[in-house]
Amino acid sequence: MMNWLQNLGRKGLLLFEGLGRAAIFFVGMVGGLGVALLRFRLTLREIYSVGVLSLVIIVVSGLFVGMVLGLQGYVNFAKFNAEESLGIFVALSLVRELGPVVTGLLYAGRAGSALTAEIGLMKTTEQLAAMEMMAVDPMRRVFAPRFLAGIISMPLLAAIFSAVGVLGGYFVGVGLLGVDAGSYWSQMQASVDFSEDIVNGVIKSAVFGVACNWIALYEGYDAVPTAEGVSRATTKTVVRSALAVLGLDFILTALMFGDI
């Protein structure tokens, strides 16, 4: 019994220690954002590796998710003779939920894991320590530009995902199943509100961008500097980012649409 309690206490302390370190890390990174903005060339490189390189998976997934929504929506709306509501269904699901959330999950798998591995490797090969000894602050030179790049990329990726998804739904619903094109768009426009749906979706994806990049960079920074440690950290990044995205999504949805 004592043992069990001791164990619990130790785990608790470790948890708080980890949270504290992550918070300090976050503050350091935010402090470096000014430099990342001033030396935007550094950030540009990172936007390329987290944003541009994630584009293919985002576009392909967005297309398929949109097509599935079109198909499922059509089958079910057809039961109530309400096919013209298909546009609303596709657009609202994408803009409010699926766009930001699926983009966040894909981002964690594609870009987040790569970030963790890269940072972990830099730590393992003493590159971060070497920078510190060269009087170059890794927070500003390495972490802040990657963080900023992620925050910029995520909303753009989510918007691309949603837009491609709406087109995918259009392709299936209007192109293949014969829903009227005019009602697909007009019903959509009548029900999707710019400030309530689109802007909230962008806010959501920006929040996911902060969370995913924070987790990915911190796990790399905190990785045990061995090959095994880095691979573990990469796994942790994907698992924790996915949980963070889903958890945050619930909280944000409740705040934005839930009238709680």
């Binding site: 540009l44 944003g51 837009a163 029900s191 999707v192």
Partner: protein, 152 residues
């Protein structure tokens, strides 16, 4: 990988992302449909608005011409005051136009249908629609029907 290549790719990425946002704003959402700058407001008072909401559509002969922008209860008239926003080019509503709240389908959304009258003068920004018909509330109809049956 040259810096130039990266810059071009990132530029293209940001452009595509912004285009996607633009499409979501203009094509998917209601941003393009109406903004108060390019429309005019009318006011209408209803005894009961039923399930009418802000952003509910306003139609003429089934064609959408505007939307509801505000619903408040007016304590002086003891009625619901509904603000309508109509597109600028639909400026042909005569002063005796009637506004009714209908339901699209059996369970569908509620909307306001406008029926132009015979007067020559037309409604201007800030005018009030005089003739209104409230929403049909299912319970009221049912209870009326029952009392009619009972009394006859």
């Amino acid at each position: 990988m040259t810096t130039r290549f990266i810059e071009i790719m990132v530029g293209a990425f940001v452009a595509v992302g912004c285009a996607a946002l633009f499409m979501l704003a203009m094509k998917v959402s209601n941003l393009s449909t109406l903004s108060s700058a390019e429309g005019y407001h009318l006011t209408a008072y209803f005894e009961n608005i039923g399930g009418l909401k802000v952003r509910s559509p306003i139609t003429v002969s089934g064609v959408k011409v505007g939307q509801v922008t505000g619903i408040v209860f007016d304590p002086d008239r003891l009625q619901a005051k509904v603000t309508l926003l109509l597109e600028m080019d639909h400026d042909y509503f005569s002063t005796d136009t009637a506004a009714s709240i209908y339901t699209a389908g059996l369970l569908g959304e509620q909307y306001i249908a406008l029926e132009p009258g015979a007067e020559d003068e037309t409604l201007k920004d800030g005018d009030t629609v005089e003739f209104t018909q409230s929403a049909l509330v299912l319970e009221e109809i049912v209870s009326k029907f029952i009392s009619n049956v009972a009394s006859s």
